[in-house]
């Protein structure tokens, strides 16, 4: 059945649209877009006062399946995504077994087709078993459905192997996403190195641990004329490296997480392990530089780095807790409340970083835009509705969020994937 979305404020960064339009959807595609559409055969969804945006895309998610289903599954992770306003997610390969072969990529896509309310795009490993030694069969993986390559938390440290991977990715026009971290510099660090690590007596992860690898990737990308995407950028110097590289026309893009925009190392003073992740929460100056980079276009996309861990794993001494927090069900309300509603960034820019830019980076042709012929993936926002984040009712299997109890204004109210309503909040 056709779906007619009426009276919404359509925001489409690709065309710059910001107007009240009706959207008519049939067979998963947008077939008409104009004021006052009439269609008696369509199911009507009236959304006056709401923002209708191209479906949000989270390009950095850990679904944990196969292998760690006790933390998250393809079903629960994608349900959390739908609830959080995301219509597409890209999932990282550090599963067990690692997604470094056709079989695992196909398993994920097959499970998703049966169980996931949102689109799932697997990111395959750059190297076999994330070992950093031999690059994977990238062309075969792309053929199986992989959308990009990353060794995420086990980044490729050997520059020769990174060079080969970037070179090879070029011939298949695929993207390498790098979690930039020099593991030798991070050593046994558990938080940002600075005054607060000195106070807390915890081992520090110095900023250059991220920056030296970004610099390396930039130099390789420039030399090879290859593309590189920087995952979860976190420091002031990282931002200036990326900014300078963009000026030199190097093909580099970058993403940032909501927690690196909203929190700092000062938040760790209670030793709460829900503030432990990589890269670590940095200092106040880094936070400010990141926000400026969001505004000036140095940073292209928001991504959550949704990393589920169970309460048993996180309820331990700080040193022993695993790195990572979840973000699918908190990212949109937090960014609306803290950045959009106070006017720190425009609604257009926010939507661009949530949909158009990740779609462009990942090469998702018919996503990230609202136009006739594009995929009917839409996120409907209610900017004035308020609620309190309560991790106990998350759809995700895990509860590891530092934002539990935060009161927020602005929520993803309706999520539509291929013309189907997959989530709707009762207000």
């Amino acid at each position: 059945m056709k779906l007619l979305i009426k009276n919404g404020r359509v925001i489409d960064p690709a065309s710059g649209k910001d107007e009240i339009l009706d959207i008519l959807i049939d067979k998963g595609k947008i077939i008409d877009l104009k004021p006052l559409i009439k269609d008696d055969n369509a199911h009507t969804l009236d959304v006056p006062g709401r923002v209708v945006a191209p479906g949000f895309i989270d390009m950095h998610v850990h679904l944990r399946e196969p292998g760690q289903e006790y933390k998250e599954t393809i079903r629960t992770g994608t349900q959390a995504a739908a609830r959080g306003g995301f219509t597409s997610i890209a999932c990282m390969p550090n599963t067990s077994p690692v997604n470094d072969s056709r079989g695992v990529t196909e398993f994920i896509l097959n499970e998703a087709s049966k169980k996931a309310p949102v689109n799932v795009f697997p990111i395959a490993a750059v190297t076999r078993g994330l070992q950093g030694e031999e690059i994977t069969d990238m062309v075969d993986l792309i053929d199986a459905g992989a959308i990009a390559f990353s060794d995420d938390g086990q980044p490729v440290s050997n520059s020769q192997i990174m060079r080969r991977a970037m070179e090879y990715a070029k011939i298949s026009r695929s993207l390498i996403i790098d979690h930039c971290e020099d593991k030798e510099l991070s050593a046994d660090g558990v938080m940002h190195e600075g005054h607060y690590s000195n106070i807390l007596g915890l081992n520090g992860i110095p900023s250059p641990s991220e920056e030296v690898m970004i610099a390396r990737d930039i130099l390789l990308a420039e030399y090879l004329e290859a593309r590189i995407h920087i995952a979860h950028i976190s420091t002031k110097r990282s931002v200036s490296l990326v900014k300078a590289a963009k000026k030199r026309k190097i093909r580099i893009t970058a993403e940032v997480t909501p927690h690196h925009i909203l929190l700092t190392d000062k938040n760790l003073q209670t030793y709460d392990t829900n503030f432990k992740m990589k890269p670590p929460l940095r200092g106040e100056k880094d936070k400010k530089a990141i926000l400026a980079a969001v505004l000036d276009g140095t940073i292209d996309a928001f991504a959550t780095d949704h990393a589920p861990h169970t309460p048993d794993e996180k309820e331990v001494e700080f040193d022993y807790a695993p790195f990572g927090i979840i973000g699918l069900e908190t990212a949109v309300p937090l960014l609306l409340d803290k950045l959009v509603n106070p006017g720190l960034i425009s609604l257009q820019r926010f939507v661009e970083m949530m949909s158009l830019n990740p779609a462009t980076i990942l090469g998702l042709k018919n996503k990230g835009r609202i136009d006739i012929g594009t995929d009917a993936d839409l996120t409907v926002l209610n900017l004035s509705a308020s609620y309190t984040i309560d991790s106990s009712n998350f759809f995700s299997k895990s509860r590891n969020t530092p934002f539990n109890g935060w009161a927020v204004k602005g929520i993803p109210e309706i999520t539509i994937v291929s013309g189907k309503i997959v989530h709707k909040v009762k207000i």
């Binding site: 000195n198 007596g201 915890l202 081992n203 209670t270 048993d312 331990v316 001494e317």
Partner: protein, 312 residues
Amino acid sequence: MPFFHKHLLGIQDLSKKDILTILETAESMEGISTRDVKKVPVLRGKTIINLFLEPSTRTSSSFELAAKRLSADIINFNRQASSVLKGESLRDTVENLEAMYADAIIIRHTAAGAPHYVSTFCRSHIINAGDGAHEHPTQALLDAYTIKQKKKKFEGLKVVIVGDILHSRVARSNILCLHKLGTHIILSGPPALVPESLEKFKVEVNYDMDRAVEDADVIMMLRIQKERQQKNSYPSIREYRFLYSLTEKKLKKAKKKVIIMHPGPVNKGVELTSDLASSDRSVILKQVENGVSVRMAVLYLLLGGKEREATD
């Protein structure tokens, strides 16, 4: 002398007044340990658990003696004889001990913040007996007590701390404590172990130990913690000794009446020579002696104080 804290997690939470209250209380405890009958009944009926999840001789026995001299019942729980080795979590361990009606848990742990974490779900008093590289509050208090005994004041004293400051809970607690008490603090040691960022604690960092110890009233030498070192924090023990070992020659630059402190155990011949460790300027054994009085004071103020207030 009111003292309104439920736990002793770190010097960071204490005011100058709190610290002075503890030191004054310790003074009044001193007499008990030198009597023939070394016991008073102020904590009779209280149960204290000494939960040491990391090896210790001094601190563990010092707390045990302190508790016993105040007539509390204390049990020692060490890692080797416990279910921790079977993989029991810290939370489960503590909740099980608490189920046996403990009034206070003294905790020593390799992970920074472990006592804070325990205090979030525990109803007993938590006393930090050293957590990772974070704090060791009773050590700093007994050091302050020893300094006060020898120097009669804090204001204007020049205290030099030498060694692995970054990984030392003793140094961290001492810096916080002595800063609150008004002393001037200078840190010295190789840069990997004494990062310049420590200056944010309002202390001076000087990598040249000869300069650092000039006119010092107190020199505190820290143990090189071999178990916490990363490679290349310094080139070799030989080179370390050359730069940062306390020698007679370096000591000459300090004030005549300088005192030498060390939290123990001493790596003799590394941080300082055996001669200096046992010289009349060394107060190392005095520190150990004072540890008992200070810990008696802490236990009394946390466990005994309130009840007394209520009955008075």
